[in-house]
């Protein structure tokens, strides 16, 4: 049993009472365990006896219980299946003359095991395919951005102010609300815009505001944007005239956007 005990001892996770919590995942289910037991016995799968393997299997379940493991129902089910096969084998069968005949594993169980193993190996092959394909990277920018970007030129301060006025304007249209004093820091807004820019190279000007921005938020966010543009962390681009202003991360060069 040493091999199996090894597997248990190396099991991850111990709780405070020093009784290890064993993850059934060590064996990916009863079939995996069964396969391991047969392999350890070093006997051909078609020759191993049902009583031998049942004994081993139950012994393993006992260890699992001793180690405080909530033995999964699937394991128990397999145990009962094995016991069923074993008891079937005990019944006298008419055809068998040889009194020393030792009943092997039933063919349906052998078949099941072999099929299980085949798919387990197939999954290993898939894993290898994955390793290769996950090392290949494809382009991930959006085609829309590439197509439209040509129409964007640099923005003047005036355009920026107009856009700012636009946001202020939309603020006016809103219903009156209770004023809650909410301290908004420029540095916070800078971090916020940066965090958006981490995920996307290009964002539209209105996107940096929340859906119902307070006047304070608008002003502070605008200041944050100016600061980001001044320190050249972002660049501001605008569609010809009066278009939406786009904020582009500066590490992205023009070539990156267009190509």
């Amino acid at each position: 049993m040493s091999d199996i005990e090894d597997k248990i001892e190396t099991a991850p996770g111990k709780n405070s009472e020093n009784s290890p919590i064993l993850h059934i995942d060590n064996f990916d289910g009863p079939l995996d365990l069964l396969w391991d037991l047969i392999k350890k016995a070093k006997i051909d799968i078609t020759e191993i006896t049902i009583s031998h393997i049942t004994e081993q299997y139950l012994e393993y379940l006992k260890i699992m219980e001793k180690l405080n493991v909530r033995v999964a129902t699937d394991f128990i089910r397999m145990a009962s299946e094995l016991l069923f096969y074993k008891s079937c084998a005990l019944l006298p069968a008419g055809q068998i003359e040889d009194e020393y005949f030792i009943p092997p594993l039933p063919p349906e169980l052998v078949q099941k095991l072999l099929e299980f193993k085949m798919f387990q190996n197939a999954s290993r092959r898939l894993m290898e395919e994955y390793e290769t394909s996950s090392s290949r990277y494809a382009r991930e920018n959006r085609l829309d951005d590439i197509i439209e970007i040509d129409d964007f030129g640099e923005v003047s301060l005036f355009d920026l102010l107009k856009a700012f006025a636009g946001v202020i304007e939309s603020q006016k249209a809103m219903d009156e609300e209770e004023i809650v004093f909410d301290e908004i820091l420029v540095s916070d807004r800078i971090e916020y815009i940066k965090s958006i820019m981490m995920k996307r190279d290009v964002i539209h000007f209105p996107e940096i505001f929340s859906t119902k921005p307070s006047r304070m938020e608008i002003v502070v966010t605008f200041m944050a944007l100016l600061e980001l543009a001044r320190t050249k962390i972002v660049r501001l681009l605008q569609h010809k005239m009066f278009g939406t202003i786009r904020i582009v991360r500066n590490s992205v060069t023009n070539n990156d956007i267009i190509s």
Binding site: K42, K112, M118, R125, E129, S133, L143
Partner: protein, 201 residues
């Protein structure tokens, strides 16, 4: 003008230059290369056939020669046949450096259980949950749900057995995930060794 969006090809015009169907191979090759260069998604052969009114055989020959050219060159970028289309991808050789410098992330790997379930679905599709459970010897519902969340597996319909259970199959994303062009590119089950009766593992 034709647009490629999310792998779906939408055609606004039927043909672009219907008269000029016998363009010389070199200029068509350049054109196809340029389209592939801009695309985020694998571009299917049919897209080229429909957009540029090229003969499918001709398109296939040109694309295959492009694949070969990039393969022979063995540079930073190769053209790959994947998920029933063609797509430029980076050479695996530079994956490590790209991760470090550009910050591209490695896709999250699948757990052993998920892989096993996925392998069974891939080879046996369409397959119902009960059959997967039977093959694995454990309940696989959670695995199937997780695989569906990652868009690797999808319901394919219902099996005409009592209860009409849903049957599952793999998605196009599955092909991309494993860098396969089509399902028949999966390694043949019969070729998968290590599955022998003697224990020489």
């Amino acid at each position: 003008m034709a647009t490629i969006k999310d792998g779906i090809v939408e055609m606004n015009n039927q043909e672009i230059e219907p008269d000029d169907s016998r363009k010389d191979d070199e200029s068509i090759k350049g054109l196809l290369e340029a389209v592939l260069f801009l695309s985020n998604e694998p571009v299917p052969l049919s897209f080229f056939v429909n957009s540029f009114s090229i003969d499918p055989t001709q398109a296939k020959i040109i694309l295959d020669s492009l694949v070969d050219e990039y393969g022979d060159r063995d540079g930073g970028v190769i053209l790959q046949e994947v998920a029933k289309g063609y797509q430029f991808v980076t050479n695996t050789r530079y994956a490590e450096q790209l991760r470090r410098v550009i910050g591209v992330r490695k896709r999250e790997a699948l757990s052993k259980g998920m892989l096993e379930t996925l392998a069974i679905i891939a080879y046996k599709q369409p397959i119902v949950l009960a059959e997967i459970d039977e093959l694995r010897g454990v309940s696989s519902r959670m695995m199937v749900v997780k695989l569906m969340d990652r868009n690797l597996v999808k319901p394919m319909g219902r099996k005409e057995v009592p209860g009409r259970p849903l049957s599952y199959g793999t998605t196009n994303e599955f092909l991309r995930y494993f860098g396969l062009n089509k399902l028949s590119d999966l390694p043949k089950l019969s070729e998968i060794k290590e599955f022998s009766l003697n224990w020489d593992e």
